[in-house]
Amino acid sequence: MGMDIRLDGICHFYGDTEVLRDISLEIPTGQIVCLVGPSGCGKSTLLRLIGGLERPGSGRVLQLGAPPSNSLNPLTFVFQDFALLPWRTVKGNISLVLEDHGIRGKRSKAIIDDVLTRTKLADFADALPKQLSGGMKQRVAIARALAVNPAVMLMDEPLSALDAQTRELLMDDLVALWTRQPFTAVYVTHNLAEAVRLGHTIVVLSRRPGRIREIVSIDTPIGERRAGDPVCQRKHDLLWELLREEARAADEELIDG
């Protein structure tokens, strides 16, 4: 009862620019896989390929095993810019993704109430997005993702648009959500602290064209990781060692050069 994702020799081009080269990767059920890499390495592109929003140039994205039968949208995104409809309330934004599955009225209300409680938004059901802070907006987007009961959450830099304090708070919330009910996620970030805090495995991509440079796994259960934890700190330093040169080289590259 679970759905794994397997990437099989993914290559991708934008025009003549090679963005991803021969990516093969296994995303096991119940784990959070973080993708880190310098900017422009194609990590967000890889996420869109996994979620079926883009077609890979070559290679395949495979679902292994069936998603849970109550999953309305097995591969569900959480976007960096939240992507909430500004003309719908918090409630309305969540019901948007239920309506197409014919879920209305009482059933819809039950789901909405449940996900709003899980994301501590119960008091904000009738607020419009413009009334919410960035952190709250991302909570709504996470609630919306939970509402469709995803088999795999595809999180594209979900905390990058938020300030440092809010980011800490939301990381705690994500950890709490996962501990209560483990979910599978691919989590794209450029922030190593997030990766070390949330990832069971951390996949380091090289600069463009993105290849898998290293896969680092952290055995400390994510519920027990604390800031300043020596194991996490060592992993953080190791990741930074791996990324430093790539990041420098990527930074000095001419765009479209």
Binding site: G51, L53, L72, N73, L75, T76, F77, F79, D81, A83, L85, P86, W87, R88, L96, V97, E99, D100, L128, P129, K130, R144, V148
Partner: protein, 274 residues
């Protein structure tokens, strides 16, 4: 205060208060200014015509225009003129705007429709619709048909252009979000594209409805006994400036009314905007 600041600076002593330089460029709502401008202009003309430095052939006396207007009201002629004009305006503009929104959305959604119709719209936009009135009379008859057609045609093109621009401007990341949640094509159009395009469509309507009022006068050039346009044209040909201005004022008020209605609609539909 600028003096003391400069003084201090020159002497190199004492703290200098940082000069504020962040003012302006922030529009404020000052409704009364518009009213004042109107009142001052009208008062100026009244004074000018009464004292004689504006001749009676240049401008009519505002008080006479008002008297003509009151007379028009009391004789019941105002509504006799207003009723057919409003009917023509409402039917013509409704036809033109709804066709324009429909075609505009199709252009925004389908590349083939865009490739086929955008050049056509660009070709018919600059045609003065008044020039086509004789043609419309043959096509749709000298009665109401040609008048509806003229107003509809005139409202259609600007509405199309505004609508497909508005659809183009809908946030792509919202559409992508809809796709990522597996929403159907129809749901994405109805729940994401159309509401997202609404601000642009409404501001386009402001322009197209003003054009509809302009075309009202043109539409009533042929085969109209009653109507604000007919009234203005008749006054113009008789060089009856008081009646001409009374008619023009009615059109202006109509424009203000339409604009206020759209403002109300925007408040209702677009309260979600930041």
């Amino acid at each position: 205060m600028a003096d003391t600041g400069a003084e201090n600076k020159r002497n190199g002593e004492g703290p200098i208060e940082v000069r504020f330089r962040g003012g302006g460029f922030a529009p404020k709502s000052l409704r009364w200014v518009g009213v004042v401008v109107f009142v001052v202009l009208i008062a100026l003309v009244q004074w000018g015509t009464e004292s004689g430095w504006i001749s009676a052939l240049t401008l009519p006396k505002p008080s006479d225009v008002l008297a003509t207007f009151v007379q028009l009201w009391e004789s019941g002629l105002l509504f006799k003129h207003l009723q057919p004009s409003l009917t023509r305006l409402v039917i013509g503009a409704a036809l033109g705007a709804s066709a324009g929104i429909g075609i505009g959305v199709l252009i925004g959604l389908f590349s083939y429709v865009r490739a086929g119709l955008v050049p056509l719209v660009a070709a018919i936009f600059p045609i003065p619709k008044i020039a086509l009135l004789p043609l419309f009379v043959i096509w749709f008859g000298i009665d109401e048909g040609s008048k509806y057609a003229l107003i509809a045609f005139g409202t259609f093109t600007p509405t199309v252009v505004a609508t497909y621009g508005a659809v183009d401007n809908v946030d792509r990341s919202l559409i992508r979000m809809g796709q990522s949640f597996g929403l159907s094509w129809f749901s994405i159009v109805r729940k994401i594209v159309l509401p997202g395009a609404m601000p642009g469509i409404l501001s386009g309507l402001r322009i197209s409805l003003a054009i509809a009022i302009i075309l009202l006068v043109a539409a009533e050039m042929l085969g109209a006994e009653y109507g604000i346009g007919a009234y203005i044209l008749e006054a113009g040909s008789l060089y009856d400036l008081e009646r001409l201005f009374a008619g023009v004022v009615i059109l202006s008020l109509l424009g203000v009314l339409v604009s206020a209605l759209i403002g109300l609609l925007e408040k209702r539909l677009l309260g979600w905007r930041v």
